[in-house]
């Protein structure tokens, strides 16, 4: 081999190019860098052969290992299901009360319920089930459709005003919007409801509204306004207000008759998950 030109000062090889006596150093790449570089090339070729790599007109090259991340996920999900199978089977067999009284099963159901709650319920009811305007708080003792384990399980399964044929169903009429009552009458009813919850109200209006309430509201809310869980009719004498406690809120509700929708989860979540959810929601504090 012919000798490579060497720069005297640095002792490094030069490219041999010479511009008015100035030479360009040809500093070699570090050996480790070259080794890694070539190793990467070898790795890449192996990868093309073993793994999915090249897009084709219809599909792609699958590689010798026929690897697919989708299959991995499916396998992982199945493995998880298998790992849970024994406990899930216990959940299937046990009644809700039995789940609650068996510490081991309770812990499992609570974990599953908490996770399912976060995925499915939290968007409306809040991450801790604290509720919001129009969405019931699940921590307190106020229940529209009942707070026993079975009631909660049924509500979750069929939903409220949902697409299920067995849905829990009720409809507060829009007394103002649909012109069932006159605006003045609605004003009087508002005072009446405020009066029912033990707050100071205009006595004249309350007196005027007594018959209106008996004719239009008592069928669902009861003669004393204590509500009726058959129809999901709220108790008007307590201090819990789904659509707000103020006069404007109550007036608005009588006028427009808001009614929220809770989806049906039967068929979407497994019966075991719904059981776990019932136990979890029951444990938030208000369970009866």
């Amino acid at each position: 081999m012919d000798k490579k030109p060497i720069d005297e000062i640095s002792g490094t090889e030069t490219t041999g190019h010479d511009w008015d006596g100035i030479q360009e150093l040809n500093t070699p790449l570090p050996r480790w860098w070259l080794v890694v570089f070539y190793a990467c090339i070898v790795w890449a070729i192996g990868y093309w052969i073993a793994m999915p790599a090249w897009p084709l007109l219809h599909g792609y090259t699958h590689g010798l290992l026929n690897h697919s991340q989708r299959d991995d996920v499916t396998a992982n999900v199945q493995a998880l299901k298998n790992a849970r199978a024994a406990k899930e089977h216990e959940l299937t067999k046990a009644s809700l009360q039995q789940i609650q009284s068996n510490p081991d099963l309770l812990q499992f159901a609570m974990a599953e319920g908490k996770s399912a709650f976060g995925d499915n319920c939290a968007p409306c009811h809040g991450s801790g089930g604290q509720g919001a305007h129009g969405y019931p708080n699940l921590n307190d003792d106020f229940w529209l459709w009942g707070g026993k384990l079975e009631d909660i399980q049924h509500t979750i399964t069929v939903g409220v005003r949902s697409t299920s044929s067995e849905t829990r169903q009720s409809q507060m009429p829009a007394f103002g919007h649909d012109a069932i009552l006159k605006p003045g009458q609605i004003g009087d009813l508002t005072e009446y409801v405020v009066h029912l919850s033990g707050r100071a109200a205009n006595p004249a209006a309350v007196q005027r509204a007594a018959k209106l309430f008996a004719d239009n509201c008592a069928a669902c809310h009861g003669a004393e306004g204590k509500g009726n869980r058959e129809f999901g009719a709220p108790n008007l004498t307590d201090n819990d207000w789904l659509y707000g406690p103020n006069r404007e809120d109550i007036h608005d509700q009588i006028w427009n008759g808001h009614g929220g929708v809770m989806p049906t989860w039967g068929g979407r979540l497994s019966p075991e998950t719904i059981k776990s959810l019932a136990v979890y929601v029951h444990s938030l504090g208000g369970g009866e």
């Binding site: 002792g11 490094t12 050996r31 812990q107 609570m110 991450s127 921590n139 307190d140 106020f142 444990s283």
Partner: protein
Amino acid sequence: MNTQARIALKNLQAVPAMAAEGIARSDALASNSAANRKFYQARVPIYPKLVHGNFRKIKWIVMAITLGIYYLVPWIRWDRGPFAPHQAVLVDLAHERFYFFFIEIWPQEVYYITGLLILAAVSLFLVTALFGRLWCGYTCPQTVWTDLFIYVENLIEGDRGARIRLAASPWTAGKIAKRIAKHSAWILIAVATGGAWVFYFTDAPTLARELAAGTAPLVAYATIGLLAFTTYSLGGLMREQVCTYMCPWPRIQAAMVDSDALSVTYRADRGEPRGPHKKGQPWESRGHCIDCNQCVAACPMGIDIRDGIQLECINCALCIDACDDVMTRINLPKGLIGYDTDSNVAARLKGEPAHFRFIRPRTILYATVLVLVAAIMAFGLETRRTIDLDVLRDRNPNFVTLPDGAVRNGYTLKLMNRSDAARDFYLAIEGPLPRRVDVIGLGYVTLPVKLNVEADKVRTVRVLVTVGLHDLKGGSQKIEFALSDAAKHETRDVDTVFISGAP
């Protein structure tokens, strides 16, 4: 043929000058010393010569002990009863436990690991301040495995001269056979190294059967493969380059070592001026170093100890053995190279008496910290609770107002039983507020309530605390959850608050 090997061979073939009567001068070159390392220059292979002597013996023993610990510890059994694994040392990642003989550590107690790391670091500081780079020279895995790999190389290819000649010789069947034998032996050791590592993370006999049957988890094979690769390349191929270029510890040690720390030292006061010794020449008015270069030939780091303390020197003391051997043969006292301090060498050069100063501010400081941390650790382990409690207060919502104006707070309690038997714990609540307590699953309870927790398990319990309207005081009241075992030998109190929502 490799250019570097050719240079080494040329050096070897040059008729060696005699350093003294009966002592041939080695042409070993300190190719890895800072002065001889050039940029852009490929590594010059080092062929350390096998030496015999006290330090070589110590290094064999240390190698046997350290490798023995590493390979055998996972196989030690330790009876922990029916609810825990029977492996003395086990990092059980799947079940989140660390077992070390009689110690069991849960993830919540990671501070023990912190303490252990502090202990290790301070011990290293103390040892380094006293005796220099003992760690590097004797016990660092890089040193131990490289030493083992060089020993294997020596067994198969022969000592220094034979290895240089073999490297320079053309590829004959014999050379190929030797090379295959050497690399196979290295790979075997490397695989065994990775193979031992995985046994620390699961039951060793079970995993060994699975590995043999090919049914072990993929991660076990991958770990063995990775560690085999690093062991083979770091111990077999890269060797001294790891210490010189990759390891931060030599740089850190520069701050740990002072002129009173022991280190492998060429006693220049005795050795200089050096030079070959002719028969009959008097030893007066000249140094004892006959410049035979045996210290360089023995050095696995490829340096010359006579250049003084340097970053590349791992203080393995093999040059001491090499030099002592020569000194014995020329009837001079041993110890031209030995463990000494820079300040002693300087003192003797000035004609002052030399003395070792082991008690210095920094060694006192390190020893104090060491004793202190060890005492704290021992106290912590001795008084370690087998009962523990975590309280997570509901924050969303913070409180719930009930129809009658009472206020309810929810708490999620983690009851931990770190003992090897199921136990009944008693939960009580202390604080200024009269209250009603419900435990999910048990309903309304009177305190203290009995809760059974399985052996070595955590039980999660949800507790609801309700305070009546007329008992509420202020916005936030301190309350305390108190957990104790049946005999009240162990208790754990956790402070938290009850929030009423009042301003």
